[in-house]
Amino acid sequence: MNNTDKQKKIDFVELGFMDARCKLIDVAAFLDRTQRAGQTDDYRVRELKKAIACLDGENPDRAKQVLLSLSDTTEKPIAIAPGKGAAGAWEGSGSS
């Protein structure tokens, strides 16, 4: 059970629409910018576009689906850490 029982009725559209609109336009502008610069072959751009398809889902778990789409889905530990950082998208999922 979650603790929202006493939560007042909130207009989430009023609360978040302008913020979501702003972020969506930022994503669109990012895709335009990388395309103009000829950088759409970068796997991160490719994976981002794939993740965008998750927004069309029917269930209220789109954030989870976007995160899963950008995740390494293998299960075994790798031999050696290639460095320390993470890129935000997983190159191994290929272009399919």
Binding site: N3, T4, K6, L15, D61, S71, T74
Partner: protein, 266 residues
């Protein structure tokens, strides 16, 4: 409003941040051992760092009336070098005995490598032998899902560790249920870009409920906000959540988990 900041790397923050925390209602700050942003060259570097966490930093916080607690370990970012890791594991017990040390943390994985996993298991063994609480760092971004699963399996493989004495930190929408369904506590980290925004943290609380969960800023030397927890409380208020609900998540929950160590007193 009162709250506990259960995860902050204060050695990399200014004194001004201590003042801001106290003014915002912070009643205790907990500092897990982590990476310095560069690799320390030997176990001596860790000796100095652990001394800072157990002696100098609590004294600095005390000047502002803020109780300071810490966690001791070798961060997974530095566990690829097994020899160095073994040297550090050897000096850990003395620091775990410190009066402000709550347990072993933040251990975990970074790139999900074999050596990282081996050193994680060694830390889990130390925690099991000493009956210590555990605080776990889960990997960043694309590595988080796989790492969270490997970490949960590694801890469950050590039968003497009880999940209610372990917090799995930095969960997001795709990983929150993996540890929680097994009885672990979970932490949501509020970062401006990676990890989780106050809005998403509030969503997860509304979807998953308020049991065995806390929020933290994990502020360090990178882009981060030491006041992220009170700012998330503002988001919860804006969404009509009750004062009782906010107090449970920000104060009572961290106190309940951390009080499993007799050293944690408010």
């Amino acid at each position: 409003m009162r709250y506990v900041e259960p995860h902050a790397h204060m050695v990399s923050r200014t004194t001004d941040d201590y003042i801001k925390l106290v003014q915002a209602g912070c009643e205790a700050v907990c500092e897990p051992a982590f990476w310095a942003g560069f690799d320390r060259s030997s176990a001596k570097g860790f000796f100095d760092y652990f001394s800072q966490l157990t002696k100098y930093e609590p004294a600095r916080a005390a000047k502002f009336g803020l109780p300071h607690f810490c966690w001791i370990c070798l961060n997974p970012k530095e566990s690829e070098d097994i020899k160095l890791a073994e040297d550090v594991l050897e000096i850990m017990p003395d620091f775990l005995d410190s009066p402000n040390c709550l347990g072993v943390g933040e251990i975990g994985l970074n790139k999900n490598s074999k050596n990282e996993l081996e050193i994680l298991e060694r830390h889990i063994d130390i925690a099991a032998q000493r009956d210590e609480l555990i605080l776990v760092h889960t990997p960043h971004l694309e590595d988080k899902l796989k790492g969270t699963k490997l970490i949960v399996d590694a801890i469950l493989n050590q039968p003497s560790i009880r999940p209610e004495r372990v917090i799995i930190d930095h969960v997001e929408e795709h990983t929150i249920s993996i540890p929680r369904d097994k009885g672990f506590w979970v932490g949501m980290t509020l970062y401006p870009e990676s990890k989780c925004t106050p809005q998403r943290a509030a969503d997860m609380l509304e979807v998953h409920g308020t049991e065995r969960i806390w929020m933290n800023s994990a502020c360090d030397w990178g882009i981060s906000n030491p006041l992220a927890v009170p700012e998330a409380a503002f988001e919860l208020r804006r969404r009509g959540q009750t004062r009782e609900m906010i107090d449970k998540v920000l104060y009572q929950n961290p106190r309940a988990f951390l009080s499993q160590s007799p050293k944690f007193k408010l």
